[in-house]
Amino acid sequence: MYIEVFNEREQTTIKIEFAGTKVKDLLNQLKLNPEAFLVVRNHEVITEEETLGDNDYLELLSVISGG
């Protein structure tokens, strides 16, 4: 399946081919630490255990900010 991902920290949007099922698999594929991101789908925050669907659009919000 394909997932479209907006990465707030990088300010980029990419469409990726995803072979996993859950949010945590996606973060693992993107080599992102779940501790450093919140995941939003359709304006709702979802946990790492949530199952993803084809053509989902996700926003990865950076937990780390400031300096």
């Binding site: 501790e35 709702e44 946990t47 255990e49 950076s62 780390i64 900010s65 400031g66």
Partner: protein
């Protein structure tokens, strides 16, 4: 995945279960208010100043301090002000200050903004390369010294009894590990929910109500409460030692849940020993001969950096 307490969708998985939006907000606010009460961070007769930047931590702690005062029937208009420091970091601080001004206006909290440029003669962007050339100090070293200096100086001017900061569990765990790695027990003794070891008229006590809140929880709370915060990251943050510790601890936390909490809990168990040790050391707080602010040397670090620039 459902909430462990109701049938609604969970927004976060914690060690003790999953929580939906409403249960998470309740849990988070309860944790902050319990921290304030347990460590007596706020006294009803005190005037308080929240150190703010416009980021998620400071807006959250400002909002919850106000909520705590209201909950305890303490006058907000007489007891609460906000103080921000504009370091002069191009393309960063000006954005967060816009959000901050809106937030303070909306919540009716008087805001004072002081700047490196006006108070110390240079922005951080201008000062850092000059100071670095002579002393090898990193931007976070310069910024930290000048920020604490201005916060303390202007908190006194505002006539407040305490400065409230938005330091969270991650900040504290990072600081603890940084001090251990650098064997700096003197700085370690100044950590904890209430900063500092020695009480002194020249120092305003700093307290941390978000002490037990993970950074991820703070970001989630700010998001769920619809605080208008645009993402921004200090361009210097990756140059600091702290950044490496932060990545290491996030990596550990991901593999071993509870790592950061464990670090802070272990530290709190030993903090009284560290503080007693520091209290027995001869107290060398004096007035800086240049600015009359508190210093442990003839000239304080803030003035020493200012002199480095003047002599360059």
């Amino acid at each position: 995945m459902p909430c462990s307490k109701c049938q609604y969708q969970a927004v976060i998985s914690l060690q003790h279960g999953n929580l939906c939006k409403n249960h998470f907000i309740g849990y988070f606010e309860d944790k902050v208010f319990k921290t304030i009460n347990k460590y007596q961070l706020i006294d009803r007769n005190e005037k308080l100043c929240v150190a703010v930047s416009g980021g998620k931590d400071s807006l959250t702690v400002l909002y919850l301090t106000k909520k705590y005062l209201e909950k305890n029937s303490i006058s907000v208009s007489n007891n609460l002000v906000a103080l921000a420091v504009d370091e002069g970091i191009n393309n960063y601080r000006e954005h967060t200050l816009v959000d901050l001004k809106k937030f303070c206006t909306e919540h009716k909290v008087p805001l004072t903004i002081v700047s490196f440029q006006e108070e110390l003669g240079k922005t951080l962007d201008q000062a850092y390369p000059i100071i670095n050339k002579d002393t090898n100090k990193r931007p976070c070293n310069v910024c930290g010294v000048w920020r604490r200096y201005l916060l303390n100086k202007h908190a006194k001017k505002l006539g407040v009894d305490k400065v409230i900061t938005g330091h969270n569990l991650d900040d504290e765990a990072q600081a603890i590990i940084m001090n251990i790695f650098k064997a700096n027990t003197t700085l370690a003794a100044r950590l904890g929910p209430i900063s500092g070891v020695h009480e002194h008229d020249l120092f305003i006590q700093r307290v941390k109500p978000l002490y037990f809140c993970a950074e991820k929880e703070v970001r989630l709370y700010a998001l769920l409460k619809n605080f208008q915060i645009k993402f921004s990251e200090c361009p210097y943050s990756k140059e600091g030692y702290r950044h490496h510790i932060q990545e290491m601890l996030n990596d550990f936390e991901h593999k071993y849940k509870g790592t950061k909490q464990g670090i802070v809990n272990s530290f709190l168990a030993t903090l009284p020993l560290l503080q007693n040790h520091e209290k027995q050391a001869p107290q060398a707080i004096q007035q800086c001969s240049k600015c009359q602010e508190a210093s442990n040397k003839d000239i304080c670090n803030a003035c020493a950096m200012k002199e480095t620039i003047q002599n360059a």
